[in-house]
Each structure stands twice: as structure tokens, then as C-alpha cells.
């Protein structure tokens, strides 16, 4: 009688899990299988292989040896690498705000509805993006030429002597100009498409409140495209850190202005294709990848927090 009766619920033996549970269902894996295979081969395997490569060193004399993290240590002290990173960082700080600013202005202008020939304007701004980077760079390279092309023609026609856009002092700005030309349209399209999905009722409410165009832009449009702005900024950061086509093509036209370690990507390319230092090249690529990821991630975190 005094026996303490445990709560009924506890006495009840736990319901045995359904028999099926014992054999885990693999159906889900079957669905992601094809993706997993492709992902493993084209994404994970190259990264794994690069990391593997970066642990070795192959010398013309002495062959291949395992060196552990020596290559990473070398990369962290490699002034050629840090100089090139500083160069693209400078590029990032100057060129990206200019490019995004122009793209934003154009997007707002298109969205304002006050533009005549809007469709034509939009497509012509976007068109440079459709030109392959190699072609665009060649085209601009010929225009920059002081012995041929536009700059030389202007010099001849007006009897002036413009500074050489392919000279060592101006070459970075010249590359910035090409990249801006190429990507304003692309960024404009991101901004513009975001602007188009703002509910029209907000504009009507603003109108009722007596807000002018400027107020509409600062209070409605800009907050609405903050997300797009962050995305565009991240794309631009990645694009800038990966700068390669423009300098490598202009190098042929201005061999003494662009060094083979001009940007981090160009440096890794030179290391493996001229210097046969594939291992070190892989190391630099990994370090650069990590740096890019960290910066992009920080920008994303900050951008999103402000938006919240």
C-alpha cells in the first residue's frame, strides 16, 4: 500500500522506435547524389588538391619534398604577394565606390520614369557587360596607346601631350576605367531590378505625405536596395581580388608598367607558368582565397546588421 507508485507515464515502457528506423532511409541521399558527385569533383577535389600541393615543394634541383606549412610561412612574408594585395585593395577602395555610385545613379535615373528612351538607355549602359573582358581590354588598350589609337590622335590633333595612360603612374587608373566601363551596366541591372519590386503603394503614401523626389529616394528607395548594394559590393570585392584579364592583356602593350606580380591572381599565374612553382602558387591562391572570403563575409555581416 505504501509502495510508491511511480508516475504512470514513467512506468509505461518507452514505445519502441518503428522498425523502419533501424534501417536508415537513403532515399534522400539518392536525390542529392548527382549533385554531390559533381560538387565533390568540381569543387571539393580541386580545393583538396590545392591544399595537398601547398604542403610540398618541387625544386629544379632536388625534386619534390614535403615541407609542411613552410610555403604558408613564406607566403605570409612574401612582399611581392602583399604588394599585389595592397595594389588591388587600393583599387577596391577607389574603383568600387565610383563604379557602384555611377551604377546607382543610372539605376535611379532609369527608375525615376523621367527619362526619355529609357529602354535604349538601359540596354546601352548594359551592353559593355556583354563584351568579353579580353576584347574590352584590347579595345581600351588600343585607345590608350600614345603611338597609335585615340590618345595619339588627340595628341596629334590638338598638339598636346597627354600623360601616357599606359605609363606606370596611370596604369592602375586606366585598368579601373576599363573595369568600371565593363561592370556599371551589370550593377545597374541589380539595383534597377530591386527598385522595380518596391510596392507602388509606398510611393503613393509618400506623395500623400508631400515627399519630394529626393525624400522618396532617401526614405524609400535607398533603404529598399540596401540588400542589393551589399550583394553588389561583395561581388565587386571578389571581382577586384581576382583581377587578372585586364592586367595580363595590357601587359603586352605596356610590358614595363605591369609586373608579373601585379595582382595576386597574376602573381599565382606567373609563379606556376613561368616559375614552375606550382606548390607555392597553390599556397598563394589558398591564402588569397581565405582573405577574400573573410573580407566578403565581414562586409556581408556588417551590411546585413545595418539593414536589420
Amino acid at each position: 500500500m505504501t509502495t510508491l507508485q511511480p508516475p504512470a507515464a514513467a512506468t509505461r515502457p518507452p514505445t519502441p522506435p518503428p522498425a523502419k528506423r533501424d534501417r536508415r532511409s537513403w532515399t534522400g541521399w539518392g536525390f542529392i547524389g548527382p549533385f554531390a558527385v559533381v560538387f565533390a569533383f568540381v569543387f571539393l577535389a580541386p580545393i583538396a588538391y590545392s591544399i595537398y600541393l601547398s604542403l610540398f615543394r618541387t625544386q629544379l634541383i632536388g625534386g619534390t619534398t614535403f615541407v609542411g606549412l613552410d610555403n604558408y610561412q613564406q607566403a605570409l612574408q612574401d612582399h611581392q604577394f602583399w604588394d599585389s594585395l595592397a595594389r588591388v585593395s587600393l583599387f577596391l577602395l577607389v574603383q568600387v565606390p565610383i563604379m557602384l555610385g555611377i551604377a546607382l545613379l543610372v539605376a535611379l535615373a532609369l527608375d525615376s520614369g523621367r527619362l526619355y528612351g529609357k529602354d535604349f538607355f538601359r540596354i546601352s549602359i548594359f551592353l559593355p557587360y556583354a563584351v568579353p573582358a579580353v576584347v574590352a581590354t584590347l579595345m581600351w588598350g588600343f585607345m590608350y596607346g600614345t603611338r597609335f589609337g585615340l590618345v595619339s590622335d588627340i595628341n596629334d590633333a590638338f598638339g598636346v601631350s597627354l600623360p601616357n595612360p599606359l605609363g606606370p603612374d596611370l596604369i592602375l587608373a586606366s585598368i579601373g576605367n576599363i573595369v568600371t566601363w565593363e561592370f556599371v551596366g551589370y550593377n545597374m541591372l541589380i539595383f534597377y531590378s530591386t527598385l522595380r519590386v518596391i510596392p507602388h503603394s509606398l510611393y503613393e503614401a509618400a506623395q500623400i505625405d508631400g515627399a519630394g523626389q529626393i525624400r522618396v529616394i532617401t526614405a524609400i528607395k535607398l533603404p529598399a536596395i540596401r540588400g542589393a548594394l551589399v550583394i553588389a559590393t561583395i561581388f565587386s570585392i571578389i571581382g577586384t581580388f581576382q583581377l587578372f584579364n585586364e592586367p595580363s592583356i595590357l601587359q603586352k602593350l605596356a610590358p614595363n608598367s605591369i609586373t608579373t606580380d601585379y595582382t595576386p591572381n597574376y602573381y599565382t599565374y606567373s609563379l606556376s607558368f613561368s616559375g614552375q612553382q606550382n606548390n607555392y602558387s597553390a599556397t598563394v591562391a589558398i591564402v588569397m582565397g581565405v582573405i577574400t572570403m573573410v573580407i566578403a563575409y565581414v562586409v556581408q555581416l556588417r551590411g546585413m546588421r545595418k539593414g536589420a
Binding site: A45, T64, Q276
Partner: protein, 447 residues
């Protein structure tokens, strides 16, 4: 569908591991190259037996040589592959050697790039094949080059580029400028020409490693000393000072056209008098005839200006050889082909097609020396080239990693062409970068 994903994943892991493993091992270069002599009998037997021979070369005249060789030895099939010109082919060859797969039996290698392969045991020493018996056939420059700083012979010289000064006679006549015989006169001529016509320059130069090293060679500078894996690099000897003294003035006074070689602008400049001279190898005439057709009759050849009046020293610019990669097969056939092309009947075939010989007998033969060049207004230019070939100082050596060093020439010396950096400072930083790379690659490099 019933599929065992665990097995799938395991298989996947296995495949990836295999893929990694397959590419991972490629380094050790201890492939035993036999050093026992190969007799002429062995070669004959191999030729009779026949087989396939893979030759990597971009030299156009070899096509006919290969066809003739096959005709003479019907059992042999020559597979002539153009694996790229110069640097592109070296990359492919280096990759093939690293992978130990797809290595050609015979490869064309330029003199300046030979050291890299010779020192890393990538090429067979041809002495056991009897190449030492051919040595006396070749002029000193190319012969020294194929030894790559050793006593062995790593390749058979195919052509050579003894330097000469090509000049646009029309331009010199128009402004009544004397054709320079020394580099000091060259500087004077450069000033006079640019003053007379601000659009005309004595030469084009945007920094060319091959040109600079050749002129240093001629000036008596020996920046590279190679003894096995011990290397010394020094760009501050007396010869280098002679070169920088003249070239710095040419740069400072902007007397060199900022046009890179082999560009459209360059061909145009050679044709219209913008570029008045070109100091380069004797292989140039064929390029003039095809690339600068419009200026036919305007140009002449002259001996390379001297660094001190009366000095006849010359240098080589360009030229290449045929070598036998260690990992290639069919060694006897390969050597037979290289010998046929570069010391046998192939030489005449290639000369007829416009190649410039490396063989002394051909350089000295009267038919060769008396050949009139219609492009040069009927000038017997080969006399000048043959003299130059005989006067090439033969103690020059390139770096065992000259291909890489040349690729960073514009990063370092190039600064002197576009900014206030002095040429000596540029050469100094080229030296430093080359020393650094050499040490990283396992050489013992000193300044």
C-alpha cells in the same frame, strides 16, 4: 531505385584519392641514363628495324627534313609535332617530364633554355652517341651553348644567330648619317637621326632580355657563371658598365622608340623608317622578307658596332638545337634523326629553305658566302654573318633557369625604360630576383 550510397561515397573517395595520387608523384629525377657508347652499328640496326619517332619542334624547315629522312629509312616513321613555340613548348616539355608521360624522343630547345633541362638530368648526354666527333663541325658559339657549362654535349646545334646590325640605308642616306661602327658612334647617330626627324629612332627597345644579354655578351660581360649547381650572378663587371653607359644615354635622351618587337607597330616601324636599325641574329633576313615586304631594297646588313674601336667581338642572339629527353624512347633513332637534321644531309635542305647554319663548313662555303640577298639590294650579307659567327666569344653561359629569369626582366630592368630608375639599378634588382629564385630552386647562387 535502390542504391547503396555508402558504397557510392566510398567509391567516390577512392576515385578522388586515386586522382590525387596519380598526379602527386612526379619529381624524382633518377632515371638511369646509360652512358655506354652507342656504336654506329647500333644506330644502323635501329634504322633498319624502324619504329615511330616523336619530334617536338616548331622550326618550319624540319618538315622537309623529316620527309627526306623517312624516304631514306622507310621503316622509320617520324611524327613531327608542333607543341608550341619557345616558352609554350618548354612548359609542355617540363610538364611531360614531371608526369613521366608523353615525353618526345627529340625536342627542339633554344640555346638559352638548354641549361635548365641539362642540369636537371632531363636530357641525355650525347657524347656516348658520338656527338663529340661532330663537335669540330660547329662554330664556337653554338657548340659552347650545347655544352651548357659542362664537358658534355646535350644537343646538336640546329641553327645559330651570330649578330649583325641591320640598318635602313634609305634613312641613313637621307639624313647623311654615317653607319656606326662603334656603339659610341651609334649614340651619335641616334642623336643626329632623332634631331633630324623627331619621329625617327635609331632602334626600338622596350626591354628585351634576349637583346640585353646578347649585347652584354658582346661587351665582354659574363654575368652568369655556372658550375654544375653552383651559380654566380653579377651584373657589375666592366663589360656591363660599357653597356649601361651607352644604353643609359639612349634611354635618358629618349632615343629609343617605345615599340615592342614582333608587334604590328614594330613591322610598320621597320618599314616606314621609324626604326632605323636592328641589332639582332643572322636569322633575321627571312623575317624581313616576309614581314616587311614594303621596305625591300632599303635595308642592309653591317657588322655589329664594337664596344671599343677595332674590336671584332660578336655575340649570338637566338638559335636552337635538337636534344634527346632522357625519358624519350627509341634513343638510337632519335640520335640518328638529330644527326641527319643537324650534321648530315638535312643541313643543306634547311639552308635552302632559309635557315642559318651552325656548321662551320657551310658558313665558310663560297656558295653560302656569295649568296646575294635581293631584299638587301643584292648585298652578300652572309659574309658579314659568317665573320660574326667566327668572332663570337665562346665562354658565355646562360643561367640554368634563364627561361624564368627572362620572364621577370621587365619587372626589374623594365623599370629603367619607364621611370627614373637607372639601368644599373634595374640590372641589380634583376640579379637579386634571379639569385632568390635560384636558391629557392635548390641551386647555390651567389652574387
Amino acid at each position: 531505385m535502390h542504391m547503396n550510397p555508402r558504397r557510392l561515397l566510398r567509391g567516390l573517395a577512392l576515385v578522388s584519392a586515386l586522382a590525387l595520387g596519380a598526379t602527386a608523384c612526379g619529381g624524382s629525377d633518377d632515371s638511369g641514363s646509360s652512358s655506354k657508347p652507342v656504336s654506329a652499328k647500333d644506330v644502323d640496326a635501329a634504322l633498319k628495324k624502324g619504329g615511330n619517332l616523336t619530334v617536338w619542334a616548331w622550326e618550319p624547315t624540319l618538315k622537309q627534313v623529316a620527309a627526306d629522312f623517312e624516304k631514306e629509312h622507310p621503316a622509320v616513321h617520324v611524327n613531327l609535332v608542333n607543341a608550341g613555340t619557345g616558352n609554350d613548348q618548354y612548359k609542355a616539355l617540363q610538364n611531360a617530364i614531371s608526369a613521366k608521360k608523353g615525353v618526345p624522343d627529340v625536342a627542339q630547345i633554344e640555346y638559352y633554355a638548354l641549361g635548365q633541362y641539362a642540369l636537371t638530368k632531363g636530357l641525355d648526354d650525347l657524347t656516348p652517341y658520338g656527338a663529340d666527333k661532330l663537335a669540330s663541325k660547329y662554330s664556337p658559339g653554338p657548340l659552347n651553348a650545347v655544352k651548357a657549362g659542362t664537358k658534355n654535349i646535350y644537343a646538336l646545334p640546329m641553327d645559330s644567330g651570330p649578330m649583325a646590325l641591320f640598318y635602313n640605308k634609305k634613312v641613313f642616306d637621307k639624313y647623311k648619317i654615317k653607319v656606326p661602327t662603334t656603339w659610341d658612334e651609334y649614340l651619335t647617330a641616334a642623336r643626329a637621326l632623332h634631331k633630324a626627324d623627331p619621329k625617327a629612332y635609331i632602334a626600338n627597345d622596350t626591354g628585351d632580355a634576349g637583346e640585353t644579354t646578347s649585347l652584354l655578351w658582346q661587351a665582354g660581360s659574363r654575368p652568369y657563371k655556372v658550375d654544375g649547381t653552383k651559380v654566380t650572378i653579377n651584373f657589375s663587371d666592366a663589360g656591363a658598365k660599357k653597356y649601361t653607359a651607352v644604353w643609359q644615354k639612349l634611354l635618358d635622351e629618349k632615343l629609343l622608340a617605345p615599340i615592342s618587337g614582333w608587334t604590328d607597330d614594330w613591322y610598320k616601324g621597320l618599314g616606314d623608317g621609324t626604326i632605323a636599325t636592328l641589332a639582332t641574329g643572322a636569322w633575321m633576313p627571312a623575317n624581313f622578307a616576309t614581314g616587311v615586304k614594303g621596305a625591300s631594297g632599303d635595308w642592309r646588313a653591317a657588322p655589329l658596332p664594337a664596344w671599343t674601336a677595332g674590336d671584332k667581338a660578336s655575340a649570338e642572339n637566338g638559335g636552337s638545337s635538337l636534344a634527346l629527353p632522357t625519358l624519350g624512347k627509341n634513343k638510337e633513332l632519335a640520335y640518328a634523326f638529330a644527326e641527319y637534321a643537324n650534321a648530315g644531309k638535312g643541313v643543306q635542305t634547311r639552308l635552302k629553305a632559309g635557315a642559318f647554319p651552325a656548321t662551320t663548313a657551310d658558313l665558310q662555303s663560297s656558295t653560302f658566302q656569295n649568296t646575294e640577298f635581293p631584299y638587301f639590294g643584292g648585298q652578300k650579307a652572309n659574309k658579314i654573318f659568317a665573320d660574326s659567327a667566327a668572332n663570337v666569344a665562346s665562354d658565355w653561359s646562360y643561367l640554368p633557369y634563364q627561361v624564368y629569369a627572362n620572364s621577370i626582366f621587365n619587372d626589374t630592368v623594365g623599370k629603367a625604360y619607364v621611370s627614373g630608375t637607372k639601368l644599373t639599378a634595374g640590372l641589380q634588382s634583376w640579379q637579386d630576383a634571379s639569385v632568390k629564385y635560384g636558391n629557392e630552386q635548390g641551386f647555390t647562387v651567389q652574387k
